[in-house]
């Protein structure tokens, strides 16, 4: 008992039961995604027939063509990429600037302002959509992509994330040495902060991209399925039956909206996992 206890730490080797349970968890996590693919490869009639299909069918390509041409998932894909790309770029840029200021620059009111940033995270979008909708209606911005990009240009989460990272990763001496050399703040940002912050910027960029890609509530209000929707809005239009409800086509739409992000996750999953864990724990 003692000797066993001595070696016992947090990193035990996993027993068979652990593998079984983890296998189940992985199965439950992945099965709906697999079934999405299955459903997208059958006819609409087959999908709504019991028992549900469990193996891929022959119709994937037809469904993709139909979703692409008839429902304009192609346009939605482009719109979503543009929106998520712009939001990710600007959030990363502004969050890095603000995170650097909060982490390394002394200024009056810093702690109060930082607390304010954190506090804003609890305000749900429901509190702003009604006035924003009135405003974009007045401006004629309904169905214009800028109405979903502008409110998301920077996020409290991003500011906090970059601040936490730079607090530890950026030595104050580096900033001071640059100042000694007569560098002004923009030069310091470019030559000192950005190089140090690059890994965190990449992770934040991916997290924000995923979030913007999947954002639903405000885009659903500001854009319409028949105008210039993002993928989520187009999907909502499919799901609520604005078009003929062919469930195979609906789920093909779901597949088109999911696969790009899953590919990103398959390639960069390790970094995203690291980013999620490092951002939240130091809270």
């Amino acid at each position: 008992m003692r000797t066993f206890g001595q070696r016992a730490g947090r990193q035990h080797h996993a027993g068979p039961l652990t593998y079984i349970l983890l296998g189940l968890a992985a199965l439950v996590s992945l099965f709906p995604l697999y079934w999405n693919l299955v459903a997208a490869s059958h006819t609409g009639e087959r999908v709504v027939e019991a028992p549900a299909p469990l193996l891929p069918g022959p119709r994937l390509f037809d469904n993709l063509t139909f979703a692409w041409n008839q429902v304009d998932m192609g346009e939605a894909l482009v719109n979503t990429t543009v929106v998520a790309g712009l939001v990710a770029l600007s959030t990363v840029l502004f969050s890095t600037l603000a995170g650097f200021a909060f982490a390394k620059l002394p200024f009056r009111g810093r702690n109060v302002l930082l607390a304010l940033v954190v506090a804003t995270m609890t305000i749900p979008p429901q509190l702003s959509v009604i006035p924003l909708y009135r405003i974009i209606t007045d401006l004629g911005w309904v169905d214009q992509l800028q109405s979903v990009v502008l409110p998301s240009l920077v996020a409290a989460f991003g500011v906090f994330f970059m601040r936490q990272y730079l607090l530890e990763a950026l030595p104050v001496e580096l900033v001071e040495a640059a100042r000694m050399d007569g560098a002004h703040s923009l030069r310091i940002i470019w030559h000192v902060v950005f190089p140090v912050a690059r890994p965190a910027m990449a992770v934040l960029g991916m997290l924000v991209f995923v979030q913007a890609w999947n954002d639903f509530f405000w885009p659903f209000i500001a854009l319409t399925p028949d105008g210039s929707p993002t993928l989520q809005v187009a999907l909502a239009g499919l799901g609520s039956g604005n078009h003929t409800i062919n469930q195979a086509v609906v789920l093909t739409g779901a597949l088109i909206s999911t696969v790009p992000l899953l590919l990103v996750f398959a390639v960069l999953g390790k970094h995203i996992v690291g980013g999620i864990t490092s951002g939240a724990v130091k809270n």
Partner: protein, 330 residues
């Protein structure tokens, strides 16, 4: 501040101003540079944090106050506002739809959050073992997080379909009668909660996992010297050590549960906005959307939004209280 930094680090070794044309008239440019330098040092931090606060002022704070103002008026989409005082709030108080939506938001919130966080804890514990295929398991349980609300809900709506859905088929194999996952209240709420649980359990598990790996090794060694079993160690070492992280995830998922919208909306198909045929899964957000965009009563919708803010403030206050109690007991 500026001068003190210079004096502290710059004495002797490095010349403070290595500007190329030095001798002819050094005082004028250096004073100018010095002023610029000090101004740069003073103003830059504010310039760097200003994009966030400008964005928040324009798209967060101003609309929030405007919503409060609207909630005291009678407003229709595109129409003028008429002062109504607290009428919208008293109307909510007397509305069955409001209490129903509040109750649904609460019950779906509990059904989706409690099992989600408990399972995430267990999952994190399993992922913390020395594993072969560690990377695969981590990315696999995170895959649902990459799936959008819309895509996940549309897939699950098919899986939960009462007539042909796979879940009833499997229940049939085990010997259960088919469940009506759409029009019965509790099954529908459970189905919606399952979507939430599916999307967020892996994400929370990874957050717990990172916290667990930061727990000092000697705590476990001490516990096992005392003869504590592994389960005992999990309860009395792991859980207390990651308590701040647990609190954090509770707050985040409670905020998420309060504003639940997309899942019930799309799960209900053409009946989504009203939360099913008998409003059995209409949440506060859905009711707000229905009032604002279907009925066109923006004043009432704004009042619902402010009630949500109030609820979140209460949760925030409770969180502070718990944090303070934690500090005192520690």
């Amino acid at each position: 501040m500026a001068t003190s930094v210079r004096a502290a680090t710059g004495d002797g070794t490095a010349p403070p101003d290595p500007s190329p044309p030095p001798p002819p008239s050094p005082p004028a440019p250096s004073r100018w540079r010095g002023r610029l330098y000090r101004w740069d040092l003073k103003a830059t931090p504010y310039a760097f944090v200003s994009p966030f606060f400008l964005c928040f002022a324009a798209f967060g704070l101003f609309p929030l106050i405007y919503t409060g103002w609207l909630s005291l008026h009678r407003v229709e989409l595109g129409g003028e506002a008429q002062w109504r005082g607290l009428d919208n709030y008293t109307a909510l108080w007397g509305s069955d739809f409001f209490w129903n939506a509040l109750a649904n938001t609460f019950t779906i919130g509990v059904i989706s959050t409690v099992p989600q966080l408990l399972m995430a804890l267990g999952l994190a514990h399993l992922l913390n073992y020395k594993l072969r295929g560690r990377g695969f398991f981590r990315v696999a349980v995170l895959a649902p997080y990459a799936t959008s609300i819309a895509a996940a809900t549309l897939v699950f709506a098919q899986l939960f379909n009462s007539d042909y859905g796979l879940i009833n088929t499997v229940l049939g194999w085990v010997g259960f009668d088919p469940v009506d996952w759409e029009s019965s209240k509790w099954p529908a709420q459970i189905a919606i909660s399952v979507i939430v649980i599916w999307r967020w359990t892996g994400y929370n598990a990874l957050i717990y996992l990172a916290a667990m790996q930061a727990v000092p090794q000697d705590l476990y060694e001490a516990a096992s010297l005392d003869g504590a079993s592994r389960f005992r160690q999990f309860i009395s070492v792991t859980i207390p050590s990651i308590r701040p992280t647990i609190l954090f995830t509770i707050v985040v998922s409670t905020i998420g549960a309060t504003q639940l919208f997309g899942e019930p909306m799309l799960y209900g198909g053409s009946l989504g906005v009203s939360g099913g045929s008998g409003n059995q899964f209409q949440t506060l957000s859905l009711l707000m959307y229905e009032k604002g965009w279907i009925t066109g009563a923006l004043g009432q919708a704004s009042a619902i939004a402010w009630v949500m803010l109030l609820i979140l403030l209460l949760i925030g206050a409770a969180r502070l209280l718990v944090a303070r109690l934690n500090k005192e007991s520690a």
